[in-house]
């Protein structure tokens, strides 16, 4: 029952409040299943995947580098002064690197890509939906999810770990800049601490997180845009705006939720 009608009857509204999120979750799960399976449908869409890699990966590079650099520098500053209280500033490299590789790298990279690319995807698909472009694909016997969503999903899975690696590297160098160059910790101490503190399982755990975040974030953003017309709170251009906002908020929350679940298994 649509929201407008259910509002007239409080009992119906209560029912709607329960049923709509369950329907929405089910729809999102089916959407993910379809977009994943259609990745393997012949012929493969190399051209579209490359175009999306350029959009998600290359065009996010600057913002990821900037975020990584400042995050690493802040961690270096905060870590140095905190550790110096206990005379442990020698483990600054370990503290910065582990924070970045295990947590901040995958999470902040996902946030940056969601903010830059995910919101754009949601807005594009939503405006295609309300102007019947998605229906037009269907009438041409072109599967809209295969055409629009699957290449984005593959591109995100390929780009997120690479961007995370770049974020981690720049962040560690940012920590070196603030901890060693500005505050005087020996560079040998910093880098040997990085090397001794970070294990392979920390790195692979971080990459596993980035892969999961890629699927969660891009699927959520595409889903919100693709089904913008089902939004209970708005139609037309308002539906586009709501889809974009919903995509960013929901995918960020889901990334943090997935982060907690993964961390609890990885530790």
């Amino acid at each position: 029952m649509p929201l407008a009608q259910s509002h007239r009857n409080p009992l119906a509204y209560l029912g709607w409040l329960v049923i709509f999120p369950i329907q929405d979750m089910g729809r999102q799960a089916i959407f993910f299943g379809k977009s994943f399976v259609l990745v393997f449908a012949w012929p493969w869409q190399f051209g579209k995947i490359l175009a999306q890699m350029h959009f998600i990966g290359f065009k996010s590079l600057l913002v990821v580098c900037l975020t990584g650099a400042f995050t690493g520098m802040v961690l270096g500053l905060q870590g140095y002064y905190t550790l110096a209280r206990f005379g442990s500033e020698g483990i600054l490299g370990t503290a910065v690197a582990l924070s970045l590789v295990r947590e901040l790298g995958p999470v902040l990279t996902a946030f940056m890509v969601i903010a830059r690319g995910g919101s754009a995807m949601a807005a594009e698909l939503a405006s295609m939906r309300i102007s019947e472009q998605i229906d037009a694909l269907t009438t041409m016997d072109i599967h809209p999810i295969r055409f629009l969503v699957s290449p984005r999903l593959v591109a995100a899975v390929l780009c997120f770990p690479l961007l995370t690696a770049i974020f981690d590297f720049i962040g560690i160098m940012g920590g070196y800049l603030s901890g060693s160059v500005l505050l005087g910790l020996g560079s040998g101490v910093y880098f040997s601490s990085v090397e001794s503190g970070v294990r392979m399982i920390d790195v692979s755990g971080g990459f596993l997180k980035s892969l999961v975040f890629a699927l969660v974030a891009i699927n959520t953003c595409c889903f919100r845009g693709y089904f913008a017309h089902l939004s209970p709170a708005g139609f037309g251009s308002k539906a586009v705006a709501l889809a974009t906002t919903g995509a960013v908020v929901q995918s960020c929350v889901l990334v943090l939720f997935a982060d907690y679940i993964l961390t609890s298994f990885l530790l």
């Binding site: 009608q5 594009e124 472009q133 037009a136 009438t139 055409f147």
Partner: protein
């Protein structure tokens, strides 16, 4: 009479508790253009979307060559999508693509044609529709009339057996509107496709169609030839045509004293 190509039987559809289609029965014959007339908001576009399978009926059946569109599986609906072309009321062109990319898309995605063959087919259909030197332009750089023609080119580029037109002349000036209808009629003569046309361009549309269906309050209250429609005495049909006739004879511009306000409605041989 031959077996209908498409049969719509007892079609019902409601949106948000409001009935739009209340048991539509309609037969569409092979090789004919069927015009669906009716007031705005009567559900003509909804009916057209049911015919191609974009919307699923709440009740009733749509039979294509005797096979139920929704009971014959997804493969049959895919086949229908391949054999049908659809011109959307709002064009539904891809605004992030150029004109060439828009028209070429169904060929690139569905056919095994090479680049050169695709380009030849696209340029041929663009020429036919009088669209010159617009290949590299984006949709937003075109006028409304040109956008309609590009959408028509995209619908026609795969040579579909059935073409569904959702108000192909809306938003066009009278000359362009007549030209588009003439073009549809000309291509129909050449290619012999089956057409279903939703339009408000009365009486022009009556000159190019072989059958007319009149949708009123969610039901088809008349179907027959344009000549039979002219003799029809049903209140809903007569009321619609009286309004059209009145507007034609009493246009909002004022005729000079002693001059006729508008031409009489006479069937012509056009189309």
């Amino acid at each position: 009479m031959a077996e209908p190509f498409i049969q719509i039987q007892g079609l019902q559809k409601a949106f948000g508790g409001k009935n739009v289609l209340n048991g539509v029965d309609l037969d569409i014959y092979r090789g004919e253009i069927t015009a669906i007339l009716g007031k705005s908001g009567e559900g003509k576009s909804v009916l057209l979307k049911h015919i191609i399978g974009l919307l699923r009926p709440d009740a009733g059946r749509i039979l294509v060559e005797g096979r139920d569109l929704w009971a014959s599986g997804g493969a049959f609906r895919k086949e229908v999508f391949r054999r049908f072309g659809y011109l959307f009321q709002g064009t539904a062109l891809f605004d992030s693509m150029t004109v060439f990319e828009n028209v070429a898309l169904p060929l690139v995605e569905r056919s095994r044609l090479g680049r050169i063959q695709v380009a030849e087919r696209v340029h041929k259909v663009l020429e036919l529709l009088d669209l010159h030197e617009v290949d590299d332009k984006y949709v937003s750089q075109l006028s409304g009339g040109m956008q309609k023609r590009v959408a028509l080119a995209r619908a026609m580029v795969t040579d579909p057996q059935v073409l569904l037109f959702d108000e192909p002349t809306t938003g066009l000036d009278p000359m362009r509107s007549a030209a588009v209808l003439e073009m549809i009629a000309e291509h129909h003569r050449k290619l012999g496709f089956t057409g279903v046309l939703v339009s408000h361009a009365v009486p022009d549309v009556l000159y190019i169609c072989q059958r007319v269906a009149f949708l009123n309050e969610g039901r088809i209250i008349f179907q027959g030839s344009p000549q039979q429609l002219a003799q029809e005495t049903l209140p809903g049909v007569r009321q619609f045509f009286r309004t059209v006739e009145y507007q034609w004879k009493n246009p909002i511009w004022h005729a000079a004293p002693g001059q006729a306000a508008g031409p009489e409605l006479e069937p012509s041989t056009r189309g």
